[in-house]
């Protein structure tokens, strides 16, 4: 029996070994490396090993850091609100109002296909809509709603958040739909039989039972937005910043130690947020 017991661990590790190898080399070691380099020093063209807290001191001593972190949370929160609202409504429609399974699957696939296409192209594709002479402005002007083109449609916080919602709402739709499909339909009937209105059923039965899906969607959306740098750079026309952009700016100036220090703080922040969210959901149970 003890032989068998030993075997279980050995075979487990054997089968997981390729996974362990990849994650050690390309996830754990890079994180350790970033942590080490965050204490190094830099000249204008090179970096040198050291053990100094200058990078962190500079980071925490600068107003820019706090503003940029605030901006990052702001983007994450606003995007989350919209993704949740839109994602929940779409998933609710699919799960409870579409009656045939074939249609459910087909419409669900329509929601997920953009996920498998290029994010950069999807960002670029907003330009003809939002630009000064874009579709939105020309339509609004032809309706007489506005007299001059709106300047804040493209290269603003508005376009950044619009792009985030556009890119990431399906990360809400998929887990919420998945959880909703597993809700026992007799519970809905029971609620109706007991005289609950549609809204009451939605609020007191469906929403509580959908919470795990909402949490998983939230984890995706929040981490993707907090770790982003390219959407903010592209959609704000380099006018707004979040933490990711702070890091990528340092990288382009070859200031790897200071980029690493910012990266460490960002990683800790993201993991804290995820740690809090994971208290509300057991991911392994929800798969």
């Amino acid at each position: 029996m003890s032989e068998l017991f030993k075997n279980r661990h050995v075979t487990g590790w054997l089968m997981a070994s390729p996974l362990v190898l990849v994650l050690s080399v390309f996830l754990v070691m890079p994180i350790i490396m970033i942590a080490i380099v965050s204490f190094w020093g830099a000249t204008e063209w090179s970096i040198y090993p050291a053990f100094q807290f200058d990078n962190y001191a500079f980071l925490f001593g600068s107003d820019v850091t706090y503003r940029v972190f605030f901006n990052t949370f702001k983007y994450a929160f606003i995007t989350w609100v919209f993704c949740l609202g839109i994602g929940f409504t779409a998933a609710y429609f699919l799960a409870f109002h579409v009656r045939s399974l074939t249609w459910q699957v087909a419409l669900f696939l329509l929601c997920t296909i953009p996920f498998w296409t290029s994010n950069i192209i999807r960002m670029i594709s907003w330009i003809p809509f939002l630009g000064r002479n874009g579709l939105a402005n020309s339509t609004l002007m032809s309706w007489g709603v506005i007299d001059e083109p709106l300047e804040w449609l493209l290269f603003s916080d508005f376009s950044v958040i619009l792009a985030f919602v556009h890119l990431y709402t399906l990360f809400m739709v998929v887990p919420i739909f998945n959880t909703m499909m597993r809700i026992d339909r007799s519970l809905i009937e029971a609620a109706a039989d007991n005289g609950a209105s549609g809204w009451q059923t939605l609020w007191h039965v469906i929403v509580p039972l959908t919470k795990p899906g909402i949490m998983i969607g939230t984890i995706f959306v929040v981490t993707l937005v907090m770790g982003d740098f390219i959407t903010v750079r592209f959609m704000s026309g380099s006018q707004s910043a979040n933490v990711g952009r702070l890091i990528s700016n340092d990288i382009s100036l070859l200031q790897y130690p200071s980029a690493s220090a910012t990266a460490v703080v960002l990683l800790v922040t993201v993991l804290l947020v995820i740690g809090i969210l994971l208290r509300f959901v057991d991911i392994r149970k929800e798969l």
Binding site: R8, H9, G12, W13, M15, A16, P18, L19, V22, L23, F26, L27, M29, P30, I31, M33, I34, V37, I86, F93, L94, H97, L109, L110, C111, I113, P114, W116, T117, S118, I120, I121, R122, I124, S125, I127, P128, G131, L135, H166, L170, T223, M226, G227, D228, F229, I230, F234, G244, I247, I251, S260, A263, L267, V270, L271, I274, I283, R284, L287
Partner: protein, 279 residues
């Protein structure tokens, strides 16, 4: 069937708007990529032509996009195969709890939530400090795996959570060795979900930007090339490229979906011998 409530029509309209929001911009650039030679990045259309598509095939106009496409394609296939193999093995490993499996699980979650630029930065630093050259097929390949593997593994976890173990027991009772059980019973049953894993592996790699930014080296992958174009190309040629690569993605997704559908149908037809008696 009861009549549809009014809320159905409101929600259906909402859903239609959502789909329009998802696909509208992509369709717009598809239309704009047929701009005439004088046309710009926005409407109105100044004539209809294939001018910008033709431009794509002239190296000097757009740089090395075909080389970039080839590299992205090869890299996507490499990542796809690796993701499928490693995810299946990982999924099998996680069916039984082993010492340290909880830590490994949290590591997978970390790979999923870590800001992508950290992977790029960290891998780039390791290679530069180790005196190695970054290359899309080594450092780029590994960096992309940290993004595709968590998805592959989550799919495998979901599959094995729903897996009926009595099939395996039956195989064992009939004298199958552990390897035979996996080869002839487990793998055929999970085969359709492997198509899903492969789809994730290929498309996520093909479109990945941030993780390859500092790890691809001197030869760009297609998303890097496209991003480079956004800063210096101001003609609809970028829409033409966007349209082509989106069409390519759709074609890939289509192939995978059709494969999954065919396997499902074959299984329905030939998978069960129930009711056929012992003749």
């Amino acid at each position: 069937m009861e009549p549809r409530p009014r809320s159905f029509y409101i929600l259906a309209a909402f859903f239609a708007l959502f789909l329009l929001f998802l696909y509208g911009p992509t369709l717009t650039i598809a239309v704009l990529s047929f701009q005439g030679p004088e046309g710009g990045l926005t409407f109105p259309m100044r004539g209809v032509s294939l001018h910008w598509f033709r431009d794509l095939f002239q190296e000097q106009a757009v740089g090395d996009i075909w080389g970039a496409f080839r590299r992205s394609l090869v890299l996507g296939l490499m990542v796809m195969v690796t993701t499928v193999v490693v995810s299946v093995l990982g999924g099998l490993a996680f069916r039984k709890r082993f010492q340290g499996s909880a830590i490994l699980f949290y590591l997978i979650i970390t790979a999923l939530v870590i800001p992508s630029i950290l992977v790029s930065l960290g891998v780039g630093l390791i290679f530069s400090q180790g005196g190695l050259k970054v290359h899309w097929a080594t450092s780029g390949f590994g960096s992309q795996l940290t993004w595709t593997l968590p998805f592959g593994l989550l799919i495998m976890f979901a599959v094995f959570n729903r897996f009926d173990r009595s099939y395996e027991e039956a195989a064992r009772d009939l004298g199958a060795s552990p390897w035979q059980t996996i080869r002839h019973v487990v793998l055929p049953i999970i085969a359709p979900s492997l198509i899903g894993v492969a789809l994730f592996g290929f498309t996520l790699s093909y479109d990945e930007f941030a993780r390859t930014l500092l790890t691809a080296g001197s030869y760009n992958t297609l998303p890097l090339e496209i991003f480079g174009m956004t800063t210096n190309v101001t003609t609809p040629v970028i829409f033409a490229l966007g349209t082509l690569t989106t069409l390519f993605s759709f074609a890939i997704i289509g192939v995978f979906l059709v494969m999954a559908w065919i396997i499902g149908r074959r299984r329905k037809r030939a998978g069960s011998d129930a009711g056929k008696g012992m003749i």
